[in-house]
Symmetry: C2
Subunit: 324 residues, 2 copies
């Protein structure tokens, strides 16, 4: 719901049937507990015990915040977890405590490395949430690929063509329609999404490096799956997805109030700078999502018909009332 | 020298005349000490006292490593510092201790935010160094813009045209020659380098967000300059550049040796994956630089004639022997 409220429909209730299927098939353990291992005052290795990723990431961020209250900062690496929805949700949990929140997760492989043709990297998102004073918090929540696969699915539903620089096909040429991209990542497993930056000439190796960094902190450090070994949503094996989550108490470095005032000043100076022709606004990260949330809370969240239909079918299957 | 050895000529000895000028003019304090403030077992705010950035960042990383040995991890935010050369150098200091090293710095403004026309963001690099076992360490050292300005200077020297997606001119159109880019960033202060991802359609707002994140951790958190307020290399005011530096002891999370074995396996699986047509290699981050270093240590470092000439002139000015 939080994802839908923020306009990130690809990570919202549209995912519920997938989660439900995995739960019903026993591919995710609904009642599993988390196990904390190797805990120090500032770090913890968590075994998610194949629980729902949302539950795991929520509890782990709670733990990081508690620890950071005592020890100034705390980071967790998580093994044996699942899809967590939007990484930004967990990073934003730190905002209530006036802390900086961090969340990243690896994901099943859809992205090709620079000069490679096999999709062996996840879209591996990173999220950072930083409190401000009177301005909105800074919330960066981004896949380390040019676009997440969910955006491709949205383009598919709307029958839109794919811009150059988002994906390549089996021959390494630009993939210019959603059908080609879907074939590459789901069937032929050659070609796929490009890392942030696109091809080599426009520094795609940087997005490729950021994607690996997320995999290192989330997958390698925790002992979870990584790279090509992360299970697909349809894979009956546990996904064994890894996360890296953390909280930083600003007071460990400087006075919180001064920091927040400086955040406000920075945000205003960026937003107040000159725009390109035809543009009247420069957005801060998280601003568009916040505005959508205000609007949706007032008027309701628009759901694509197919999503609504899938939810209704799921409710029928589970003999639940469906009053939407 | 370390930058030149790694093939990053834009950040090597070619910068020496600039540093020397600032030192001779009293714009950098050569004998200044660092002041540690707000120190906790895992964090420290450092005032660089306008010392040479290289000295500041080196000492701060040493401090972080010492602290991480006792407290598992440690981060520093630095105010009143200067240009530090390559951020990767300091991140790589952690490798000797088998730790993960992190270094980021803000920089004078050359980069336009998404939908903006003013260059109010630095190229704000981030560097992460992660140890492996038998494979080379993973060393990601990247500007959060598509390219650093040094690359533009190299293109200028070679008379090469500028690819689409690297920079925009005063009208927001692609800047396709180095003269235009230099005019934008040095003179008209409209147009400039694009953040990683390029224009909005190819997710330039992600590079713009990463650039802000570096500014937040390096500039806002430390109390240094940030965004448009960072001094240019020719500005007689102290640059007041900020850094964010940290070290993470892998043992805080998992067994170091197992981690390094997993790093090796990951590196091999990425490098061993299928290549696009005409390519026979997929590179890991830091690999090209390591290979150049082996070659340069054996055969010497090639210097562009103009760089050599500038060094000779500097030596004459300072009445120093010049035997190169």
């Amino acid at each position: 719901m939080s994802a839908d409220l923020r306009g990130i429909e690809s990570h919202g209730v549209s995912r519920l049937p997938r989660y439900a299927k995995r739960l019903m098939n026993g591919w995710i353990r609904p009642a599993a507990k988390l196990t904390l291992k190797n805990e120090t005052p500032v770090s913890v290795l968590v075994d998610g015990e194949n629980s729902l990723g949302q539950v795991v990431a929520y509890r782990v961020m709670q733990r990081c915040i508690e620890k950071a209250k005592k020890s100034h900062l705390a980071f967790a690496t998580v093994t044996n977890s699942n899809h967590i929805g939007i990484a930004g949700y967990y990073a934003m949990m730190a905002l209530k405590e006036d802390m900086i929140g961090i969340c990243m997760t690896n994901a099943w492989p859809l992205v090709v490395p620079t000069l490679g043709i096999e999709p062996i990297l996840g879209t591996n998102p990173v999220a950072f949430a930083v409190p401000a004073k009177n301005e909105l918090p800074f919330v960066l929540d981004m896949a380390t690929s040019v676009i997440p696969i969910g955006k491709m699915e949205v383009y598919e539903r709307h029958g839109k063509s794919v811009p150059v620089g988002w994906a390549i096909d089996e021959n390494g040429d630009p993939a210019l329609d959603t059908k080609t991209v879907m074939r590459c990542v789901y069937k032929t497993r050659r070609g796929g999404l490009l890392p942030l930056g696109g091809l080599e000439q426009t520094a795609g190796y940087k997005g490729y490096g950021l994607s690996l960094l997320v995999d290192i902190l989330s997958g390698i450090l925790s002992g979870a799956a990584y790279g090509a070994s992360v299970g697909t949503p349809e894979d009956p094996r546990p996904s064994n997805i890894g996360q890296f989550i953390g909280a930083i108490d600003v007071n460990a470095f400087t006075q919180l109030d001064k920091f927040k005032e400086r955040m406000d000043a920075m945000i205003r100076s960026v937003r107040g700078s000159n725009k390109t022709k035809g543009q009247d606004r420069i957005y801060m990260h998280g601003e568009k999502e916040w505005e959508l949330e205000q609007q949706y809370r007032k008027n309701g969240i628009p759901l694509y018909f197919k999503v609504w239909e899938n939810l209704r079918n799921l409710a029928q299957q589970l003999h639940l009332d469906f009053d939407l």
